[in-house]
Amino acid sequence: MRRRVLRVLRCALLAATLAGLVWPAPVLAATGATLASLGSPSSGDLVEHPAQWDGKVIDFQGEAVGEVMRRGDSAWLHLNDDAYSRKAADDIALAGYNAGQAVWAPSELAAQVKICGDYSHRGDLVHVVGIFHAACPEHGGDMDIHAVKLEVVLPGSPIARAVSGVRAAAAAALSLVAAGLWLLWRRRHRARGRAA
């Protein structure tokens, strides 16, 4: 009897979880915000003073990295406005951590972004105008910018990664030494195996 009650309770709990998970998050009503931008904060400004910029229309510019993830008629992209985003494609010197913002944009706007930054590419430099959310109710509380305008300011390009001759030589030399030691080790190992 008690076990049956427990089982019913457990099922109810699971059902409640599932129901809670598929519960549609309240969609932001179109705010009818005018496109007059209230400023162009950096991602650092936005992260440090989210309340100050929450719900405001802002200008934001950065290098698109990773990929554009299409979700139906909108898409996610990530724009880094760190020091790397302002560098030439062949300049790969260190300049600290990455910093940027997630941007939610209509697919047809996001489709303009052709090259995203990764190991072998400097991504497109993208400028957006949109509404900043410190904790977007539509996207699970993520900090994001809902873009209404998007343009590629500077197209991305491949990063040339030359193979260093010195490293190739070092690799060859070290591999030879390693192989030699391995052979020596194997012979000793075998000899011991026979002795035992």
């Binding site: 709990l13 699971l14 409640a16 979880t17 809670g20 998970l21």
Partner: protein, 44 residues
């Protein structure tokens, strides 16, 4: 697995059942977390 390297189909079925059980444990934890969030949101 009794000392050997081979894993039989029966073993695999047991493993899958075990994995599912562990997933249920996590689901229960998540349900508690969600319940707390719902109550907190209602009260505030």
């Amino acid at each position: 697995m009794k000392g050997g390297y081979s894993v039989t189909l029966r073993d695999l079925r047991r493993y899958a059942a075990g994995m599912l059980g562990e997933a249920c444990y996590v689901l229960v934890l998540a349900a508690v977390g969600l319940a707390i969030a719902v109550v907190a949101a209602l009260l505030s």
